[in-house]
Symmetry: C2
Subunit: 507 residues, 2 copies
């Protein structure tokens, strides 16, 4: 690990509103940008989709090496179930520290369909662009060893922001402190999960199995984007999430659309009608009791929400649509409600592969976001009940028997992921106040305090198995294409992220 | 071309209700089955999707060789436009014949997605199965040179039935006559089209450019399946067809469904609602004026339809669904109405590739079947007007400008293929009566007389450019998975088809 320390002259330079520590961290980073990014690009080049067992192992091994290079004692934490991606764990004990903070990020990434990525950009051959694709960014060569790096450049690749940037920024923040000879104010533990994008199915096992090792006063979660206004944000909760798949069946074999069209049932039309029945034109979910069970915000949370800078118009312009769902409700209001979203639909083929057929089935992938009070399985059951109420026979079996086919006019296979519930940490806990103070010390700008992120993380597990609060401090740019093709991170966001985490380790 | 003639004993064997000619043809075929199928398998092994230019050329060349081996003078008929698949043409002049019949089939096939085909079955590596897949058929080795062939076996591969079986059966019928030393009763022309599955976009050019050569009294079209009852059928018309693609746009970039779900518009939901608005729960198309323009059947046609054996219950059982569309109307009624069918839908991913995103767009492939009186573009315009009436801004451009995005709340790209109209030949023409008589002479069973096929062929072009009637005499089994994965032909249908065409060449 080749890194440079700047001469003291620069370190103690012109005073800033940020804390001197953050200034020192920035200078260290500036002197080592190329080496730092080179290490990060190495991390990005390793496939990390959960079902790619070898890629997951290699990713974990790379992170272990990064930690060892920083002098951190590491260990892989297995689940009780075999073959589950391990969590990469490390710890640093600080003399006289009275509190322990665990820094969390995840090293696995969402599935990729390379065909959907822009030309020249591959999920696991990360490249630099001189701007975002949406702003006409072009691929540029990776910067040479001494080439100046423009912080507006972006790095494109799966997990560039979600969440290898988190792993990298946390570890680099720790590196900065050690290189600067500054002792953290808290005992530090590192916990890098390998199964987050697959629903953290075995996280509970890992937490339970290793609960003695994982004792702490707080988990700081590095995941998700900073606020769309560009301001740093501290997030006190997350929505829960549960995935469902709905597959509607028609004929046993594909049919010629001329010989049988408008007589044989068309599964794509059946699915369309079923999905259309789930929401009104304003995006309000029509499923019975869908908005029940919601725990209301506290007064503190309501005040925080009122202070969140409005970004709706900015985002509509940036994303290129005229009318949002919600019948006039704001983005921040809507992400604090339970939601139903179609992630994808598929039936036979479109485009060049389209043929004049009646398909045999049609499938929709759904995700339900849950707020405090919702239960994942209870919420999914409401969807199943709705499908039944539309006249469907619902089964979990992939293959439908002839008896079922001749007995029920409408047949759907509905499967539900394990999912997890929402979580919210009280903003007025003393340790929460420390976090807010630390993040504020890392920037001149206002910090957004958000009671809950729209996105999901399995944070309820930390409460359930470890009785420990969690607070999320994200670092990625909001326009990072997280979870989709052309995922990317803006380099300035990595730099800011390192500074944020330096401040947090010295909270 | 190695073929055998049976001893006369067999040729003049036990009397049958079929004509002696058909008996003779059968005996010739029985003595040459293995060699015949071997030639057919060679034809099936050549890729024939229109955009595969090399495959199309190779297919045409193979057919030319088949024709030359049968002593037919051949020629490729080009379109005026360059690069269009040529029609393979041949002619046989018969001394003293007063009528000329052109036998038509097409040698191109529908697009293939090999991933959707059953294990071990590839579109262009045709294989034998001992029964249909639906009935538990298993792959068996290709029969050896002298192995007995079970006529219930099937051959699986793209165009096995649609429509290389047509090309093969027509040419083999002619082979049978020459080998038996029997002179056809009409001058014969062969016309094998290479662009039918791509909408016969340049067929009009070919017909117009070569109209002197293509003079005849009748076109006999070998395409489509025999009646679902298993009986041979003579079809006097076809529906027209026009393809449309509807693509609904939302955000410019894919979004995290947690951070933006239920605020940012979801294109899969928008498309579902749009498609759902097009048909009621009984499958009746709700688009304004959709059922207008229809030319009613004549009394003769109505009588013929009344005699068509009902197959609805048989087909529902075979296809495995309890309730058909149409609110109780029969299959034969429904295929004589204009139809709207979804061929496929797609938005982002489902299954293993699904991710928690809001997709950027959602696409549906549609086909409209047209009956006599409908015009392809006028019918498509009704769909476009319907989409506009749902509040959509409709464009044909693939890329949507920022101005469009900020001006219109709902944006759809709608493209329409060229399509073609329906055609119907009068059943009481004298030459039509000859065809009916000939087909009846080839079977002991009742022959179904069908005023119009549910499927489509560009038969109006023959009327328009050549002022010549067309009659369709199909040969494939109805459960052939035409246009889809796992296309197949039942061997007995090839054998029956050869006999049908022998009778037609001697009509």
């Amino acid at each position: 690990m080749k890194r440079y320390l700047l001469p003291l002259l620069l370190i103690t330079g012109f005073a800033s509103a940020q804390s001197p520590l953050v200034e020192q961290a920035r200078n260290y980073r500036k002197a080592n940008e190329n080496a730092l990014l080179s290490e990060f690009m190495g991390l990005l080049s390793i496939p990390n989709v959960v079902y790619d067992t070898i890629g997951i192992q290699k990713t974990a091994t790379y992170i272990v090496k990064m930690m060892e290079a920083r002098g951190i004692k590491t260990q892989l934490l297995d689940a009780t179930t075999k073959g589950v991606p391990p969590a990469v764990y490390g710890e640093v004990n600080v003399p006289n520290a009275t509190k322990t903070v665990i820094f969390y990020a995840h090293y696995d990434g969402q599935p990729v369909n390379p065909n959907q990525w822009a030309e020249g950009i591959e999920p696991f051959k990360s490249v630099f662009l001189d701007a975002s694709l949406e702003k006409g960014g072009k691929i540029i060569p990776a910067p040479k060893a001494n080439e100046k790096i423009n912080p507006e450049w972006r790095i494109y690749g799966r997990s560039a922001s979600d969440d290898k940037a988190g792993v990298f920024s946390i570890l680099t923040a720790y590196e900065v402190l050690t290189k600067l000879g500054i002792q953290p104010s808290v005992n530090i533990k590192f916990f890098f999960e390998g199964e987050e994008e697959a629903g953290s199915t075995h996280l509970s096992e890992i937490l339970e199995k290793h609960k003695d090792k994982l004792k702490s006063d707080l988990w700081v979660i590095c995941d998700g984007p900073v606020h769309q206004s560009g301001k740093k944000q501290v997030v006190f909760g997350v929505r829960g999430d549960v995935n469902m798949e709905v597959k509607v069946y028609a004929s046993k074999r594909p049919l010629h659309s001329g010989h049988y069209g408008n007589w044989a049932p068309n599964p794509a039309m059946l699915l369309s009608k079923l999905l259309a029945s789930m929401k009104d034109d304003n995006g309000r979910v029509l499923i019975k009791d869908f908005y029940d069970d919601v725990v209301p915000f506290t007064e503190t949370e309501k005040k925080a929400i009122a202070k969140v800078p409005p970004v709706d118009e900015q985002m509509r312009n940036e994303l290129g649509f005229m009318r949002a769902e919600g019948g006039g409700k704001s983005l921040v209001e809507l992400i604090n409600l339970p939601s139903l979203n179609i992630n994808g639909i598929s039936s036979a083929n479109v485009g060049k592969m389209a043929a004049n057929v009646i398909p045999v089935s049609a499938t929709a992938a759904l995700d339900l976001r849950l707020v405090l009070g919702n239960d994942a399985q209870r919420q999914a059951q409401k969807v199943i009940d709705h499908i039944k109420a539309q006249g469907y026979y619902v089964t979990q079996n992939e293959s439908i028997t002839d008896e079922e086919r001749m007995k029920y006019p409408l047949i759907a296979r509905v499967t539900t992921g394990k999912g997890y519930n929402a979580q919210r940490t009280k903003m007025d806990l003393p340790i929460a106040q420390n976090v807010i103070k630390a993040v504020k010390s890392s920037t001149n700008e206002e910090v957004v305090l958000m009671p809950s992120l729209g996105g999901s993380l399995p944070l309820f597990l930390f409460e359930k198995y470890l009785a420990t609060p969690t607070i999320t401090v994200p670092i990625a740019n909001h326009d990072n294409n997280q979870h989709a093709e052309n995922e990317n991170i803006r380099i300035q966001n990595i730099w800011n992220g390192i500074e944020t985490y330096v401040a947090l380790m010295k909270m």
